[in-house]
């Protein structure tokens, strides 16, 4: 369905229930009414999906029309006179509900959707509570279609939302409608099971409890949960997900994640990870007490024992071998505040620039190119409305599910053009208007070709006409967004941004994890400070604590590991990262004094001398920056006894080392605080009181553990991060831009970029601890190579 309201200039005036209202020409009656606060009930209508006119709940009376009309399919017209609550209309709704309920099992007391069911709500409103029908209801048994999806036909009202969101929205087309009449059922594509992306969109879009998820079924009632809107901890796209938690003996338990309230940049989208891969939090393998290795074995310790040991070892090492002998490896999944604090700690307390992280994109080159060309980066939201998108490399369907959704939305609803340049046949080519399949590893040559170097075409292995057509079409686009994957690095990025900025394009550089961009922006680099200020550059003086930063760049990750292996690095602190999985051959991990902060005994953690059990994203407050530079707020949703946030752990170590904590987190006299305890009110909405007081600095608690104090410091020092606190607190995404950065001297090390290679059902080390992801991976593996009984 095309977006009719786009570019509409003309307004149409009509009368609804005696009120005069107006809306852009082409608006559907149901939408025009909604805009004016007149609610017309509907089951099958769903904004953004194709029109059905099937449920007949939205029938209204329109003057001069002999029959009632469906408001969901009727575009408004000048002078239309409409009744949406007349006796006739209300009676029709009631009768339709009676019919639906006649066969409905009415198992509301045990139904997952009970309490958030559209059929319940409407029955309540239109009072079809009594049944006239005494015949036996049709029954069918429930079916499990996949590790995730269950279907309960008797509850299904056949609104076809699931079928449409799966097909039109996800481009998966795994659901169909079979049989006809009363026998109609929603059917999965493999007869009795589903082969799909397991996104769960169908479950959340279901207005009743016909589709339910394995993870949430029969677990709890919606009103027994606290709902907190926070940011997904998996890929770099930054979906908002509403976490439903309830109290448990371990603190609290996450019961589900969804995005029913359609808040956030992702509106109604979440992929399998955002919706179901929260379960690692409750994995029995999770460690919730600090561990110290004694005689090659881990033994439980108290937090103070563990912290003291770490502080003592760090102090000892500094004293014995100097700051160059300690290395720090940061995380792609910790918050901006934690990352900022970690590097500040390394640089000002330990006095070393030996800090790095797992780089999954060449952000320094990107920042340099953007700043040098005064080009703009694009937000995730903008992609859905962009008239044209050029995608070089990556496979968003697998690696950036939200981005893929945004691209499909643009193509489907705005008829936007998608240009795909890729060495592989990625799924998004189905939406593409131009496709250039190029030889592996020739993305940079393609950029060179675009920039005018026709000779570079020779390397691409693509037919010259295809390239020419694509290039010419591109040059005619305005409002283009260029998205590129980790295939492009270093100078190729400079060339691309330089080409794109000439035609007014905006850019997105893709990185893999939820806060990869934040880690880069916060300066988890041996040669870059927060905001891409070069260690050696002049702009570093912007930092209040610049004088404490060693003047020469530190070791990068590989050199730290080499150092550890050779003995040059004697203490290594790994925060939320698992380098041993990526460098399994490396002997570095067993030699130095190794401190690991994580949730699980990962490959790296196995070697640790001290293991500090950490909270993960849904258990803490702070901010994260998605791969596009969209800054969003994390809210603490759940709690697990025994663990601590990385932020707190860093502060505690600093304190034990004897550092001035107030210098690390200038909390004294500070007023912005919530002690890391921010929680939204029920149903994922913002807590208005908290939003107001916080934004005005009226919430007068102070604590060194408050990450938002650090955000204040970040806002002052990191270009682009001076965002509206009110908007951020209200749960709105805030843009960070890279333009004010001083490009000169930003070094880049393309060779250090190593994509994580995550796919739809994997999410680095964390993903391996998700039962849901494992069950889906397992199912797909079995589907490919059936296991033979021996």
């Amino acid at each position: 369905m095309a977006d009719v309201t786009q570019n509409a200039t003309e307004n149409v005036t009509l009368t609804v229930n005696g009120r005069t209202i107006s809306a852009p020409k082409g608006t559907l009656l149901i939408e025009a009414c909604k805009q004016h606060g007149i609610e017309i009930p509907a089951f099958c209508y769903y904004p953004g999906l194709s029109l059905q006119g099937a449920c007949r709940m939205c029938l209204v009376e329109i003057e001069k029309m002999p029959k009632m009309q469906t408001a969901c399919t009727t575009p408004i017209a000048e002078g239309m006179v409409v009744q949406t609550e007349s006796e006739k209309v209300v009676q029709a709704r009631k009768a339709t509900l009676e019919l639906l309920l006649a066969n409905h099992p009415l198992d509301c007391p045990v139904c997952d959707a009970g309490g958030e069911c559209e059929l319940q709500d409407m029955t309540y409103k239109y009072g079809a509570g009594e049944s006239k029908f005494i015949d036996i209801k049709s029954h069918r048994d429930e079916q499990q279609w996949s590790p995730i999806v269950f279907y309960d036909r008797p509850r299904c009202i056949l609104c076809y939302r699931c079928v449409r969101v799966c097909g039109e929205g996800m481009d998966v087309w795994a659901l169909g409608i079979q049989n006809r009449g009363q026998g109609s059922v929603i059917a999965p594509n493999k007869g009795d099971s589903l082969d799909c992306e397991e996104c769960g969109m169908c479950i959340d879009i279901c207005p009743v409890g016909a589709l339910t998820s394995a993870s949430y079924r029969y677990k709890t009632r919606p009103w027994e949960m606290t709902h907190v809107g926070t940011v997904c901890t998996h890929c770099g796209d930054g979906c908002v997900t509403t976490v439903g938690v309830r109290r448990s003996e371990t603190g609290s338990e996450i019961v589900r994640c969804d995005n029913r309230d359609r808040s956030g940049i992702n509106v109604d989208f979440l992929c399998i990870k955002g919706r179901y891969a929260y379960d690692f939090a409750a994995n029995p393998e999770r460690i919730t007490t600090p561990l110290i290795k004694r005689d090659g074995k881990f033994v439980s310790a108290t937090w103070s024992e563990a912290i003291e040991l770490v502080a003592a070892k760090f102090r000892e090492t500094l004293a014995a071998s100097g700051p160059q002998s300690i290395g720090v490896i940061g995380s792609n999944r910790t918050t901006n505040e934690e990352n900022y604090l970690l590097q500040k700690f390394a640089r000002t307390v330990l006095g070393t620039n030996n800090i790095d992280h797992h780089r999954t994109a060449d952000f320094p080159s990107f920042a340099r190119a953007i700043a040098a060309n005064k080009a703009q980066t694009a937000s995730m939201s903008e992609v859905a409305t962009a008239p044209a998108i050029l995608l070089i490399g990556s496979d968003p369907t697998e690696q950036h599910p939200l981005l893929a959704w945004q691209i499909r939305t643009a193509v489907r609803r705005r008829s936007s053009r998608l240009y795909v340049v890729n060495a592989n046949e990625i799924k998004l080519t189905r939406q593409a208007s131009h496709i250039a399949k190029i030889a592996i590893g020739t993305e940079a040559d393609f950029v060179s070709y675009l920039s005018g170097n026709t000779a570079a075409a020779a390397n691409l292995g693509t037919a010259p006409e295809v390239l020419e057509k694509l290039r010419d079409a591109l040059s005619a686009e305005s409002g283009l967004i260029i998205v590129f994957g980790p295939e492009l690095r270093g100078e190729a990025i400079d060339a691309l941004v330089s080409y794109g900025s000439r035609i007014g394009a905006k850019f997105i550089c893709l990185a893999d994890y939820s806060n990869s961009r934040g880690a880069a922006d916060m300066g988890l680099y041996p040669d870059l400070l927060p905001g891409y200020h070069a260690i050696a550059g002049s702009s570093r003086s912007a930092l209040a604590w610049a004088s404490k930063v060693p003047a020469t760049p530190g070791f990068d990750l590989t050199r730290m590991l080499d150092g550890a292996a050779s003995g040059a690095v004697q203490a290594l602190w790994v925060v939320g990262s698992n380098p041993a999985a990526r460098y399994p051959e490396n002997t570095a991990f067993s030699r130095p004094f190794l401190v690991v902060q994580d949730m699980f005994l990962t490959e790296t953690a196995q070697h640790a001398d001290v293991f500090l059990p950490a909270a993960f994203a849904y258990e803490k407050a702070g901010t994260m920056t998605n791969t596009c530079g969209d800054l969003q707020r994390l809210k603490k949703a759940s709690d697990v006894h025994g663990v601590k946030s990385d932020f707190e752990i860093i502060i505690r170590i600093a304190e034990k080392i004897g550092a001035d904590v107030n210098e690390l987190v200038p909390f004294r006299g500070h007023t912005f605080a919530d002690a890391g305890q921010s929680r939204g009110a029920q149903s994922g909405e913002a807590d208005r009181n908290a939003v107001f007081t916080e934004a005005r600095g009226l919430a007068s608690r102070t604590s060194p553990l408050d990450p938002l104090i650090t955000l204040d410091e970040i806002s002052k020092l990191v270009p682009g991060y001076a965002v509206s606190r009110l908007d951020l607190a209200a749960g709105n995404m805030q843009r960070t831009e890279l333009v004010q950065i001083e490009p000169a001297g930003i070094p880049s090390h393309p060779e250090m970029v190593e994509p994580a290679g995550n796919a739809l059902f994997t999410s680095g080390t964390l993903g391996r601890y998700s039962t849901t992801l494992n069950s889906v991976v397992e199912k797909h593996r079995n589907a490919i190579e059936p296991i033979e009984a021996d």
Binding site: W173, G176, I177, Q178, A187, P188, N189
Partner: protein, 162 residues
């Protein structure tokens, strides 16, 4: 998966009828059924591939049309109409008679020798010549129990001879 030469010829001819390939689906499924006795899983995959639609889509369509089936019927599918005009003139009795004679009870049941299946159907367009039935595609009208006996015997003989 192979179609017979005749079916292939039908396919190629029908392709030329329409601006969009998929349009041939409904009638062609019936031709597939004629060839294999029902629409087999293989042929669903095959036709889906040819028409560039998903097998699910093909199944959605098959399940909509009452003549299409995905399980075998008898060699002769006896379809007795009991809709109003036939009902008025004894359609139900005719259905009862056929069932009794062939020893089947439930709708679409196949006789143990596989020769017949019996299906109660909706109006087949023989209202003025009721009661009526179709055996495969052949119409038999103005039925009486005796006439039915004779008709079924003939089919049985044909089946045995082949």
């Amino acid at each position: 998966m192979k179609f017979s030469e005749q079916l292939e010829a039908r396919y190629s001819e029908m392709l030329t009828h329409y601006p969009v390939k998929r349009s041939l689906l409904v009638p062609f499924l019936l031709y597939i059924q004629d060839e294999f006795g029902y629409v087999t899983d293989d042929s669903i995959e095959e036709i889906a591939k040819r028409l560039e639609i998903s097998p699910l889509e093909v199944r959605n369509v098959i399940s909509y049309y009452s003549m299409l089936r995905t399980k075998p019927s008898g060699k002769y599918n006896v379809q007795v109409c009991t809709n109003i005009c036939c009902q008025l003139r004894g359609g139900e009795e005719m259905l009862g008679h056929v069932r009794e004679k062939l020893g089947v009870k439930v709708n679409k049941e196949v006789t143990s020798d596989g020769i017949f299946s019996v299906e109660e159907v909706e109006c087949i367009g023989a209202c003025s010549w009721a009661p009526a039935m179709q055996v495969n595609y052949d119409f038999h009208e103005n039925l009486t129990p005796e006439k039915i006996d004779q008709i079924l015997d003939e089919y049985r003989q044909k089946a045995v001879q082949e």
